[in-house]
Symmetry: C2
């Protein structure tokens, strides 16, 4: 492995959920957002909402961002130039979620380099209507993900990731089976268990659909956690479709 | 603005489309992908395809990645653990596009820190079936975006971004109008024009829908370019929906 201060910063990433009382200065805030903006983009169709009211986020972080997909803002530019938005919303969203995420990752990294920790919060899409109300969002702005940031009051280790062989595939995608799958499970599960990740946060997704709980925090592992997420939650796209429609996005409609 | 080697690296980003003959070593490649993996994730549901055949990508880069949303791989883990995938595909994709993009941005930054330039290629989604064939992808893996990388044989300046006031909104989202919109247009257009961005690449999106060309490279600007993209292209989600369905993703279906 090569190394340098940037690589070190990238490899040192961990989510931070406890923050000190220290307030980041405006200069720190602007540096983080400015560095975010410099990420590559297809159309720069995102916005960043900010609340500095600690009580508005679950970890009482001093900076609580909501990264949004934003068509409204560019539509104002189109208006000014005599154009109308015409791309289908599905393609627009698939591209703009990428723009927004590339930007968010730059913010996370810039924050880390300045001593701030952060945590992404996945609940934003399901609460898009509530966030829209709180920030008085116009239509065509869709809250994608929360990002809280502040000076860390905890120092957890970086978390494990899949083996490289389960992530990077050259020339041909292998059929994953047997040993490879079990090795990926092992690396992730033993890694998270050794760090007491779920037990220290008392985080266990309850079982539904007739399954009986047999896991304790001694064996409740990363793959168990993600199985419960992808294996139990939100079988119906209706809720997300409704949130999108409330914000003015209609992903199955053609404009012609 | 605060600064440090990480911030400098983030602000120094520009897309690179010309590469030298030098081949990145395996160590460099592995550092880049490893740094990519350490990005935050919801479910780690992405994969990275790699081709080192220069002729397979438009800029003849030594490394040509395709970042994919990947449910297949985790479904093998679920199988091994006695689970079945249950989350609706729309929510899954909206979350996994984020995971994949966070990872891609880390790869881009790690690459830059090691002297490599890169360029994202947006055509992957529209060619998902072709990429699936080339890499023998199983179902439930969806090619999201291309990322070519190599040692730069050009040295373009970083490109302009929106003013901070058009990106970061504290407590309330303003109704963008008049001066603010024109200022955002001005910053982007004058910035790109001053760098001869489109003229040097001879890149102009042809006008359709009865519009007549009146622009030369003297005034063909960033907002004109993006207006032509979002104002003309792909009014129908059908093509993307079909590509998703071919890969086994059905975004309007409920699993119940």
């Amino acid at each position: 492995m090569k190394t340098n201060p940037v690589i070190e910063c990238l490899l040192d990433h961990r989510s931070i959920r406890k923050f000190t009382e220290e307030e980041p200065t405006d200069e720190v805030l602007e540096t983080i957002v400015r560095a975010g903006q410099q990420a590559p983009f297809a159309s720069q169709t995102y916005s960043v909402l900010l609340s500095r009211k600690r009580e508005t986020n679950p970890f009482k972080a001093p900076l609580s961002f909501t990264v949004c997909v934003d068509s409204y803002k560019f539509e104002r530019i189109m208006e000014e130039r005599g154009w109308e938005f015409y791309m289908n919303d599905l393609s627009f969203l698939f591209l703009s979620i990428q723009d927004a995420s590339l930007m968010a990752e730059n913010m996370i990294i810039a924050g880390r380099s300045l001593g701030l920790g952060s945590c992404l919060l996945g609940a934003a899409m399901g609460r898009a209507d509530k966030i829209a109300e709180a920030f008085n969002l116009p239509p065509r702005v869709f809250p994608l993900v929360g990002l809280v940031m502040g000076y860390p009051d905890e120092d957890p280790p970086p978390r494990p990731r899949y083996p490289m062989e389960y992530t990077l595939f050259e020339d041909e995608y292998p059929r994953c089976a047997g040993k490879t799958v079990r090795e990926a499970i092992k690396v992730m599960d033993e890694g998270y268990l050794a760090q007491d990740y779920y037990s220290s946060r008392n985080a266990k997704i309850p079982l539904t659909r007739g399954r009986e709980e047999t896991y304790t925090f001694k064996n409740y592992s990363w793959t168990e956690h993600i199985c419960r997420k992808l294996g139990q939650w939100s079988p119906d796209p209706k809720m997300l479709l409704e949130q999108l429609e409330k914000r003015g996005f209609h992903i199955t409609k053609s404009r012609e």
